[in-house]
């Protein structure tokens, strides 16, 4: 008997997710949008190369990063409500990017912008850890996230207030909303050098996350250094989430919804959740972006707005059902 039903389901799940991407990627290349609403067809090679391909790839990697980092943070904090957006990691990154942009250090798309975002998310995660501490309880964690979100939003608004031109203000707003509109290959080259090392750090923590399921003491007795796992996830999530925010702003709740839906399918093992969450996060983000392009004529919806509209009620539902569980 080799491992019971979980590994079989794991393989099946992976194939299904890969298959959905095989459908979504060509769709995303095929469906375009302009002022007159959606239009279909692959368009000219220029359109394909300069607009559709970058948008699709950025969407894939951003969604995958958010799914992966959500799953890793939930494993680290042993809490299904942990998510880069809710914990304030994304808004910290947005603030970091805005500071760099605002002070004129960088045009959008430069690596310095990414560095600012990564430092912002690192700062947010450090603050979160200092505020919520270990033995993480739900209320403290969420409150710390609320506090960090509020602080980052206030500071970003401050920058917005003093923005030198309406154009700069608009650019800052876009980071807060999150969008895949007008992404070019430059953004992809900003995303990948930061996100790929981030993914690797997070994946290197996989076994440590499994051990942490049994608490820090048992993880230690199983030969894991809890601090190492902690820093791998924090540094990895800060790098990867910071990079996604630098290229397309805050896209919230993908990292919450995706791991939550997949967890029962992988036997609740944190390590088995990482790659499926990457694939499903990519698929969900791409699907949302395709849906946005299919909307009737008018101003294009922002991706972050759409994910928040879907994710926030989901989050509330999770909070309510976790309260019921603790009340029982």
């Amino acid at each position: 008997m080799s491992g019971g039903p979980v590994p079989r389901r794991y393989g099946l799940l992976g194939s299904c997710l890969a298959l959905s991407l095989l459908v979504l990627v060509p769709l995303s290349l095929w469906i375009g949008r302009d002022g007159g609403g959606p239009h279909f067809g692959f368009g000219t090679s220029d359109i394909l190369r300069e607009i559709r391909v970058p948008r699709t790839l950025v969407g894939l990697f951003v969604g995958g990063t958010l799914g992966l980092c959500g799953a890793a943070l939930q494993g680290l904090l042993r809490n299904p409500l942990a998510e880069p957006g809710i914990l304030g990691v994304s808004s910290g990154a947005a603030f970091g990017a805005v500071v760099v942009y605002y002070f004129g250090f960088a045009a959008s798309g430069s690596l310095l912008l990414g560095t600012g975002a990564v430092l912002g998310s690192l700062g947010a995660l450090g603050l979160l850890y200092a505020l919520a501490g270990r033995g993480i309880d739900l209320v403290r964690l969420i409150l710390a996230g609320v506090g960090i979100n509020a602080l980052a939003a206030a500071l970003t608004s401050l920058a917005l207030n003093f923005a030198p031109s309406p154009y700069a203000a608009l650019e800052i707003l876009i980071w807060m909303f999150g969008t895949l509109e007008n992404r070019s290959l430059a953004q992809l080259w900003l995303l990948l050098p930061l996100a790929v090392p981030g993914w690797m750090l997070v994946i290197a923590a996989a076994r440590g996350l499994d051990a942490l399921t049994l608490g820090e003491d048992v993880a230690g007795s199983l030969g894991f250094r809890v601090r190492r796992t902690l820093w791998l996830v924090i540094a990895g999530a800060a790098l990867a989430v910071g990079a996604t925010v630098a290229v397309c702003g805050v896209v919230a709740f993908v990292g919450l919804v995706v791991p939550h839906l997949l967890r029962p399918l992988v036997g609740y093992r944190p390590s088995c959740l990482l790659l499926p969450s990457f694939l499903a996060g990519a698929a969900l983000t791409l699907a949302a972006d395709i849906a946005i392009r299919l909307m009737p004529p008018g101003p294009e919806l922002k991706l972050g707005v759409v994910t928040a509209l879907i994710g926030a009620p989901f989050f509330l539902h999770m909070v309510l059902s976790s309260r019921q569980r603790t009340a029982e």
């Binding site: 008997m1 042993r78 399921t213 049994l214 608490g215 003491d217 048992v218 199983l222 894991f224 036997g267």
Partner: protein, 259 residues
């Protein structure tokens, strides 16, 4: 096979939990670590397991714990804390499989040897029929057995468990002690923190009575628990009797003031 401590001390800030303690534990023993609340039992057990950090005054096979690689220590000494919990509702088999983590490298799947160890642990803990049940659907006694099976699955020569019988009914208390005894009979060392003196008297091959951070008595169960020990360290008078060759102790009266 031996787990030993020399001059071991555990401090929390200025408070000394374990003071200058010498100890040698051998394979084939089921050692009951007993003593009143706050005597330092859990602190000693954790230090022996290398938690929170390996202490050079604890030695495994004569080697100080910090000299062992993390994975080597993990394979040698298994540890189960009091009221062990899992953060996610893992199926029992997945929970038990976590005990094989020290035997696998990054990215390695469970080998046939791992599968066999998991099956043995499930068998030993009498959990075969529960293997696919999520841990949060089990009763308290079953859950304790599942966590014990996780610790068994490490197949370490030494197993340290903290109050495995707390909050279990008498039937499950006996069942847990029975499991620990079977693990010992495979030529391994088991150390269990116990509060129930009668369980300790009936099942352990050796008792360590701790009091105020030191080992007050060490030896055969009957030699450790008597009127004088109960009065001095537990501050109670007890009714002592013999049954089936075992001593029974029923505390009857507090001695001195309760402070």
């Amino acid at each position: 096979m031996s787990l030993a401590a020399t001059g071991l001390e555990v401090r929390y800030g200025t408070r000394v939990a374990v003071r200058k303690l010498d100890l040698k534990l051998e394979a084939g023993e089921l050692v009951g670590l007993i003593g009143p609340n706050g005597a330092g039992k859990t602190s000693l057990l954790r230090a022996l397991a290398g938690i929170p950090a390996p202490d050079a005054r604890v030695r495994w096979q004569g080697r100080p714990l910090p000299e062992l690689a993390d994975i080597e220590r993990a394979r040698a000494i298994a540890y189960l804390p009091q009221a062990a919990q899992a953060s996610w509702p893992l199926p029992v088999r997945e929970l038990v499989a976590l005990g094989r983590l020290p035997h696998r490298r990054f990215g390695e799947r469970l080998t046939a040897a791992d599968e066999a160890a998991i099956a043995r642990a499930l068998e030993l803990a009498k959990l075969r029929d529960f293997a696919d049940r999520p841990i949060d659907t089990l009763s308290g006694g079953e859950r304790t057995r599942a966590h014990l099976a996780r610790a068994f699955a490490v197949e370490a020569p030494a197993l340290l468990v903290d109050e495995p019988t707390a909050s279990l009914d008498p039937y499950h208390q006996l069942a847990v002690l029975g499991l620990l005894d079977e693990y010992r009979r495979q030529g391994r060392l088991v150390v269990a923190v116990l509060h129930d003196l009668n369980l300790a008297l009936a099942h352990c091959t050796r008792l360590l009575l701790m009091s105020e951070g030191a080992i007050a008595r060490d030896g055969e169960p009957k030699a450790v628990i008597d009127d004088a020990a109960l009065a001095e360290h537990y501050r109670v008078n007890a009714f002592l009797a013999e049954h089936d060759g075992h001593r029974i102790a029923v505390p009857s009266r507090m001695l001195g003031r309760d402070d």
